[in-house]
């Protein structure tokens, strides 16, 4: 027998000092090192397999042998771990351990247009690929201890600040010099969709962030190619030098994962995504990204819904997510998505094990949970040979436990990191829980010990005699003696207990008197004994004898671990009110005997049938036959059928900002990159007959961003909602918004501040775009052989100028926010001189003053029916505008720019009849065919014509009447709004809420911690909203 050590804290620092000793001076005698340590007789958890009597041989902080039977070298320190389990320590690859907090530099009241960072770095403060975690790392023992106690041995740390965040380092949670703690200095590069501490104006929106990222990727390549001829840019240089490392993208939202993946695809990179734990809501799309996910397990606490009125602030999404979040890990397993677990976002350390067990109660297995904390994170970052397992050559990071890792009863004894022992709980813990007979002086009490093994709790039960009283509080008297009947009652009081190895201290208060006991535990016999002070201050002997084992809690634990998925509600698309359980199947639809507004030469047809087949309009005729038995037949008698409403100017269904207001031109940004399928307004507008919308950038700058044209396909993904071969549009804007007239006294810096300046912004940008286009044309016309020659470097890809060049090349159309005639006229002159046509003036409230010029130029107009007087530039707006433009032969539409108005665009169109005497058919075209023409989608939608998309509305009454309601709204042949389905949905929402509220109340009554009422709301946008709603 060699040395058996119980407390091994001795060799704590030896390992690391050993590494340093040849390089650095030592104060004192050099340490003896290179000792072997053997951990024997433990159950080793080796990932896929378990070795019941395993031995680990460790030297210099690494495993040198792992196995069952082995010969140990001479001079080995042996640690006998009989009956104990060994697991690899956990790895958190989404940590900011040891990183400084970057505080925003305070700026003045005005906008900060340029970077305030000193040095030869890039132009945007939120892009800092040059940042190196290793260079800024300082060990933080307090935080390290917290993580070790959860079971972590290694973290991948980075500074969670900025859009491009630089490199992360792999760091152990050992003590000692930082030199030894960083086991790999440059492991991964990090990206996010948040600006962090940068106060620079650009980017101010999610789409701006996406554009900035894309441009940075292009610039990195360009900089590398042309480094010798460009001024030094340490940021771009570092970006390109680190680009081949694993790339971790903080997406923090299921749709953001898809958005980040699109960026990755563009550049042939695969990101690892940091998610939000909501991946289950779009599992198949997330699987299709091919990326691994780092998921938090900060499951929401139940809301305190005890006030039913206040409970209304909690959305169905919040409630359902509360219920479904613990299922996310097992659903990721089932969905075949590789994932690692992070502690990021956890409110307190004790939630870690609690939430792992919640996830396991939903079906996550121990081995999957363990993998997500060890082998998977190691593999994701390419550190599978360093950490995450019990394998030869790996760092000796491991946990010693009393049993299966995640069992509630299991005690984590120690966390070994690089061969150093960190004691978490004493290995001499005794399970004291149970019932005891407690004898103090003369009296008998019962002592109940409960809680956990590591942290027991105690209470004292005793009998006392009182007079009996009845329900109304009167004394119950004995019939014979007429004296009160005595009854014995049992009472329970809390006691304080502290245990250290064999020593115990117990104190409690009985009937206003204090007892304070100290003693020794004889663990074999279950007897405690010692001395204590009685209420009168005298000392007396006491003893406690175990009478029963602890049990009731154990059964409870098993109950919660029982896997029960039937209790959770369905995952709807989207996960919110009116979401669909599954996407509908495409069926054919026959609407019979209706009044049909064709918007074609046939005009309005009475008593006709219309057949929708395979998502297209198949036929319109007097009596049409069913296609098949599954055809849905709608009785159209007394009903009106029109083409679906098209909103030329909408801002719904957009994530985090419709304005990139940081610069005068933001042609590089695109609403198409931030379409949000989870907006209730999609459903509400379907209920108003809207089937297509152009989601426009706002009006914060003369050259805004690119549009998305979508179908309101409620339940589908953002990508599926977008038009195939979507016509390309960009928003321009004129007037008060772009010159920041109403932005307060401080926004007087950004060019332009006058209408005069606006014109010059256009000329400047178009001239630059022209030059850019020429440069690329020249390059593209080079012979292939020349292109391949290393001397010919392609020009810089500039996403902004490229977009503007598309306008010049007539590949992209403009929809321009406009009010007064002078500037409208100006922009048409700019377009004329640049050789393109201004496609649409939107708002165009003074269009009636230049209708002849618009007609001559070929511009269309998309206007409000009757808005005016909200700004100085709309004082001459008139509600007759649409009529007059229409009469002058300008293609004219009526739009909403408002989530509410879009629900009744038919009414807005009808105002054209009131103001200016438009014909009813023309009025309907204002919101159907004409916007389709303006959007260049009239070959697909906008009228009821055979072959066009089956985008159809069935109205209860004359569609231009205030009394008309859509009864069915059909998009691509799918009935996505139906008045009867809507009724069912309402019942479903009510019952689902009732169920979830009951469940939350039950959780609260069961003692679970709750969170206060907190309503989360998506902002409703119009083009004047300038903020990014993100975090």
């Amino acid at each position: 027998m060699r040395y058996i050590l119980f407390a091994l804290t001795f060799f704590c620092l030896n390992q690391l000092i050993a590494q340093d000793r040849n390089l650095y001076p030592t104060n004192g005698v050099k340490n003896q090192s290179d000792t072997y340590y053997a951990f024997t007789n433990a159950t080793l958890h080796l990932g896929q397999s378990i070795s019941s009597k395993g031995t680990l041989l460790v030297r210099n902080g690494k495993f040198v042998k792992v196995g069952t039977v082995m010969s140990l070298p001479k001079g080995t320190v042996i640690v006998d771990l009989k009956g104990k389990h060994i697991y690899p320590s956990f790895i958190d690859i989404y940590s900011d351990y040891g990183q400084p907090k970057t505080k925003p530099k305070s700026v003045g009241q005005g906008p900060q247009l340029e970077s305030r960072k000193n040095g030869a770095f890039g132009w945007n403060e939120s892009v800092k690929p040059e940042y190196s975690t290793a260079k800024h790392f300082t060990a933080n023992e307090k935080k390290a201890k917290e993580l070790r106690e959860m079971g972590f041995g290694t973290v991948l740390s980075h500074n969670k600040d900025g859009i491009v965040r630089g490199t992360s380092s792999l760091i152990t949670l050992n003590q000692g010099s930082e030199r030894g703690l960083i086991i790999k200095p440059e492991v991964a590069t990090h990206f996010s969709f948040t600006k962090g501490s940068s106060k620079q104006s650009y980017p101010s929106s999610l789409m701006g962030i996406i554009a900035l990222l894309r441009q940075t990727f292009y610039d990195g390549i360009y900089y590398q190619n042309k480094k010798d001829n460009l001024p030094l840019d340490l940021s771009l240089g570092a970006f390109q030098e680190t680009i081949q490392l694993p790339k971790i993208f903080e997406a923090n939202d299921k749709l953001n994962i898809l958005r980040a993946d699109a960026i990755g695809d563009e550049f042939g990179h695969q990101f690892i995504f940091k998610g939000a734990g909501d991946e289950y809501q779009r599992m198949s799309e997330i699987k299709a990204t091919g990326g691994s996910i780092i998921v938090p397990i900060n499951f929401p606490k139940p809301f305190d819904v005890s006030d039913p009125y206040a409970a209304r602030f909690i959305s169905l999404t919040q409630m359902k997510h509360w219920e479904l979040a613990p299922r996310n890990p097992v659903l990721l397993v089932n969905g075949g998505v590789e994932f690692a677990i992070t502690t990021d976002g956890l409110k307190k350390p004790s939630d870690f094990k609690l939430n792992i067990s919640k996830a396991m109660a939903q079906g996550l297995t121990e081995s999957d949970a363990l993998a997500a904390l060890t082998t998977v994170p190691a593999k994701i970052i390419g550190a599978q040979d360093l950490v995450g397992g019990l394998r030869v050559g790996m760092y000796a990071n491991f946990l010693v436990t009393s049993g299966n890792l995640f069992d509630k009863e299991t005690v984590l004894y120690s966390n070994w990191i690089q061969g150093n022992k960190f004691v978490i709980n004493s290995e001499n813990l005794i399970d004291l829980r149970g019932s005891y007979k407690l004898k103090v002086a003369e009296s008998d009490r019962s002592l109940i010990v409960a809680g956990s093994i590591a942290k027991p709790t105690a209470s004292i039960e005793y009998n006392f005699v009182v007079d009996s009283v009845d329900k109304s509080g009167d004394l119950v008297l004995s019939e014979g003696t007429n004296k009160p009947i005595k009854v014995t009652k049992r009472k329970k009081v809390k006691a304080l207990i502290s245990v250290k190895d064999q020593q115990v201290a117990l104190s409690y208060k009985l009937m206003d008197a204090f007892y304070s006991l100290a003693g020794t535990i004889h663990s074999n016999s279950g007897l405690w004994e010692g001395n204590g002070t009685l209420p009168d201050g005298s000392w007396a002997m006491w003893a406690a004898i175990k009478t029963a084992d602890f049990k009731d809690k154990e059964t409870k634990v098993k109950e919660t671990l029982k896997i029960d998925t039937s209790k959770t509600g369905s995952i709807t698309f989207p996960l919110m009110a009116y979401g669909l359980d599954s996407l509908p199947a495409l069926r054919n639809v026959l609407i019979k005997d209706a009044t049909i507004w064709t918007n074609e030469a046939e005009g309005v047809l009475e008593g006709m049938d219309i057949l929708l087949q395979d998502g297209k309009i198949k036929a319109i005729g007097e009596v049409l036959d069913l296609v098949d038995a599954r055809t849905i037949v709608i009785d159209g008698k007394g009903k009106h059928v029109t083409a679906g409403i098209i909103d030329e100017h909408s801002h719904i269904a957009v994530s985090r900002g419709v304005n990139e207001s940081g610069q005068a031109s933001s042609a590089e940004v695109s609403i198409a990159s931030v379409v949000n399928s989870d907006d209730i307004n999609i459903y509400r507008q379907l209920a108003g007959g809207v089937t297509s919308s152009q989601l426009l950038h706002g009006s914060a700058n003369p050259i805004g961003g690119q549009s998305a044209i979508i179908k309101l396909k409620w339940g589908w993904t953002p990508e599926e909602m977008k038009y195939k071969n979507m016509p390309l549009f960009i928003k321009f804007a004129l007037g008060e918004n772009v010159k920041q007239s109403n932005w307060g006294s401080y926004n007087t810096v950004r060019f332009p501040q006058t209408r005069m300046g606006v014109e010059q912004v256009y000329y400047d940008h178009f001239l630059r775009a022209k030059a850019y286009d020429t440069k690329w044309s020249e390059y593209n016309s080079l012979k292939l052989s020349k292109k391949n020659a290393t001397i010919t470097i392609p020009p810089r890809r500039d996403l902004e100028l490229e977009t503007l060049a598309q306008i010049l090349n007539k590949e992209r159309y403009i929809s321009c926010h406009s009010y007064v005639q002078s500037e409208i006229n100006m922009l048409m002159k700019v377009a004329d001189s640049m050789g393109f046509t201004l496609n649409t003036f939107t708002h165009i409230l003074e269009g009636y003053k230049v209708a002849d010029k618009m007609k001559a130029h070929g511009a269309g107009g998309s206007t409000f029916s009757d808005w005016w007087a909200y700004k100085y530039e709309v004082r001459d707006a008139i509600p007759h505008n649409a009529s007059l433009l229409n009469e002058m032969g300008v293609i004219t539409a009526v739009n909403s720019d408002d989530a509410e108005m879009a629900r009744r665009l038919n009414q807005e169109a009808a105002k054209g009849i009131k103001y200016g005497g438009m014909s009813e058919e023309d009025a309907l075209k204002m919101v159907t065919l004409n916007p389709a023409k303006l959007l260049h989608i009239d070959d697909r939608v906008g009228s009821l014509k055979v072959g066009k998309d089956a985008d159809v509305v069935v109205w209860s009454k004359h569609p231009l009447s205030v009394y008309a309601k859509p009864e069915q709204t059909i998009v691509d042949g799918y009935i996505l709004f139906d008045k009867n389905m809507d009724k069912l949905q309402r019942t479903k929402i009510a019952s689902e809420r009732t169920r979830l509220i009951a469940k939350m109340l039950k959780a609260k009554l069961g003692g679970e911690e709750t969170q206060p009422i907190k309503e989360k709301k998506n902002r409703i946008h119009n083009c004047n909203v300038f903020s990014d709603d993100g975090n």
Binding site: Y309, S315, N742, Y848, Y870, A910, Y915
Partner: protein, 442 residues
Amino acid sequence: MYFPMMVIRKKSIVAVGFVLLVSISALAQVQAPGELTEMRILLLNGKAHIGNGDTINKSAIAIHKGKITMVKNALLITIKENEYDTIIDISGQHVYPGFIAPNSTLGLQEIGAVRATRDQQEVGTMNPHVRSIIAFNTDSRVTATVKTNGVLLGQICPRGGRISGTSSVVHFDGWNWEDAVYKMDDAIHINWPRMYSYDWKNRSRTKSKSYDKSVQDLNAFMQVAQAYNDVKFHDDKDLRYEGMRTVFNGVKSVFVHTDFVKEIQDVIAFKKMFNLNRLVLVGGYDSYLVAENLKNNNIAVVLRRVHSLPMYAEEDIDLPYKLPKILQDAGVKFCLNNAGDMEQMGTRNLPFYAGTAVAYGLSYEEAVSSITSNAAEILGISNRVGTLEEGKDATIIVSKGDALDMRTNQLTQAFVQGRFMRLTNHQDDLYNKYKMKYGLAK
């Protein structure tokens, strides 16, 4: 061209010719209010929507010296043509009492983005003494576009603070605020504290820490005001408390603005605590949840804009559209209003809100009441306007078609206190100007 449907009989030619002349010459001018006429006018054969729920399909409505002198079924009486200077045949058309816009800021704000034109919000928390009437701009170009859709009266309200100030009820065809006023200083307006407040930084709404304190402050103010006004005359006057003087004797109404149900319940308690006979709830989005309680406590509701979005995604998507029907069924007295975004210019759509309420269940005549008689009762002017009844002011509109439907709302006549109101505004002038430019004018 201004009275195309008018059939002129007998000796009315001269008088009406005068009106026409004024109208045409007004094209090139700023619109002026109509002039009071001594004429005896008869509106004949129009469908009358009385405002109290009744209708007369073929009505005979007589107007003289600013008052309605007769409302009868034309089929049941003999018309003596010589009793009238003008008989206007409005067969196939609709007659309504002038529509009323409560809780309005018309005339207080002209262009929202231009600070110099904003006059609705004073500095301070307790401003009952601040009076909207003296800032009411009768020459607002916005109001001119509202009245031409049939909205002839409004309650002009200050905004902001805890007690915003004192409103007055006016008509929209006056030379100055003195002759526009219908009811001077009709009510004070209280913005009830918010129990849950929105935090823009975190994009979330959480329980407000200051709610209780704010309610206590309001109660304390009310108590002091009450005590102050127990004394008839003060040498040292406090204008704020003077502004409260008629609140406690029930002359001035108290309009309390709030939407959330728990706040509404506190408002009901507040009414009881201070024994406020005339307390009206404004906004009242959640009023349907406590309808019985509101009814029992005789609290009427100036209901949140009908054309608005539900507050919560979970709610019925058409909840704001059908709230009028729900309140009607519950027996709560209510009227419609247009406060919110673009509230001044949007007031011209008030009749269409009533139309939407019809589409979502309200009966047509109930919808008419919600912008006429109900509003008049809630504002305390029902003895003079709100219905087409003998003895009431001749504040009337005639529409070519159904005035609650934008498709058919076309005013052919409008009277404010018996004066012919002009039916055009500067927007029509601009329209005509450019029609002429393009050669489209007929």
